[in-house]
Amino acid sequence: MDFFQNLDPAVQFFIFSAVKIGVVFGVTMSFVAYSVLVERKVSAWIQDRVGPNRTSPPIAQFIPILGPFLTRLGIFQPMADGLKFLLKEDFTPNYVRLAYFWLAPAIAVIPAFLTLAVIPFGSTLGNPDNKMVIADLDVGILYTFGIVSLGVYGIVLAGYAANSKYPFLGGIRSTAQMISYEIAMGMSVVSVFLLVGDLNLSKVIEYQAHGGWLVFKQPLAFFIFLVAAFAETNRLPFDLPESESELVGGYHTEYSSMKFALFFLGEYANMIASSAMMVTLFFGGWTLPFLGEPASGLLGGLLHIGIFVAKMAAFMILFIWVRWMFPRFRYDQLMDLGWRRFIPLALANILVTALVVAFVNR
């Protein structure tokens, strides 16, 4: 470690950030792969099936007991899925708008990963300066919303690039849907920040460590945020842009192979990002009611990261569970819910919170 300590602080910062980025990216990617597996298993159990239970590399058969057990759990399935996506033919229909056809999958993936940069996924690791957040921005939440709002371009451009009617309809739908629910989402968060008094996400966690989780103080804001998160990630019951029963595959109808996989990856990365946001904003981030102080040692730091990841995984399971439990909304119901129910509710919530902060909490 002496070698590391002797380096220039700027170089230290650079190396440390690079390591954090690498680890967060790697963990998110494997989280994505295994949430697909969880999705398949949970859907199977809900529908009284067994789900993926066959895929296994040849060596797995030679491990007694454990090998067949893991195979039955489907642990090896994500590797096969990934390999399949990479090896399948990447077919490009000859009537597509080529530049956008190539750009759209990339644009769909990038924003989801960018939002993870401001999420404090742990307190400190080792020494108190090693904050477990890639970028501790003062306008953290605004940054997140800015980046999330860019995510829609991937879907819209995919719909436009395909140059055929179903993807196009999917793209148009997603534009209207994302914009509508972004407003409700943004407004629900305003009341949270009225209480906290800071836009920095680390400060939000600090507040919750001492004043209790915000979900108990702002249940309405949390509910609106949760529903809007479903709409923003295009998950059932709000998967209108995709809705395979009416639009074939929606915006990704014409995509195959790895380009399709990128949309898939983007969707799950978005789910992870919004789960992380909900944990940070409403469920105390890496804190537990009796574990609120930043960790002093390595072990405590790892424990905090573990708590954060566990809470995030719980939200992922909620996302998956809801998908197999609820039917899809009709388009007019979706718009009605967004504009005529959630936005007035969120506004009223802001007003009430502002009054309480102004007269009671001073």
Binding site: L137, V139, S149, V152, V156, I172, T175, I179, E182
Partner: protein, 168 residues
Amino acid sequence: MPELTDILFYAFAGLTLLCGFLCVANPFSRNPVTSAMFLVLTIISMAGLYVLLHAFFLAAIQVLVYAGAVMVLFLFVIMLLDIREEERRKLNGAAVGVGAIAVGTLAGILTRALWHAEPLAKVATSEGATRPLGKILFTQYLLPFEVLSILLLVAMVGVILLSRKELK
């Protein structure tokens, strides 16, 4: 060796100008969607310039409102109305005249503002943090702020009135 911020400034400034030019006069494509996407890039690279000025709040709002909402609606309208490739029209004399006057006036105002601007040292103190910005908006600049909100409200009411299906 030049500072990193200088390099970034020139990169973002160049990108802003290039994308702005490609948005209005793209020699390769007259596709309205392409123009809209270059406008998005222009907006994002301007946000980068704001970050270099330490105006983080402004940068975030710029991306959130313009790139994330306004331009998405632009795209929505372009796609919904199915605007085809713009043909190369002949130059309209009146339009060129009005455009030249507008650009000239704006350039004049900006030059004057820059000319009378106070030295940079003072700008750096405010740091573009959200709290001081809010304080200034609601004390020193309260009147212009409220007038602007009324202007937006008027525009909103006007849009609703115009888009009603049956006008009595």
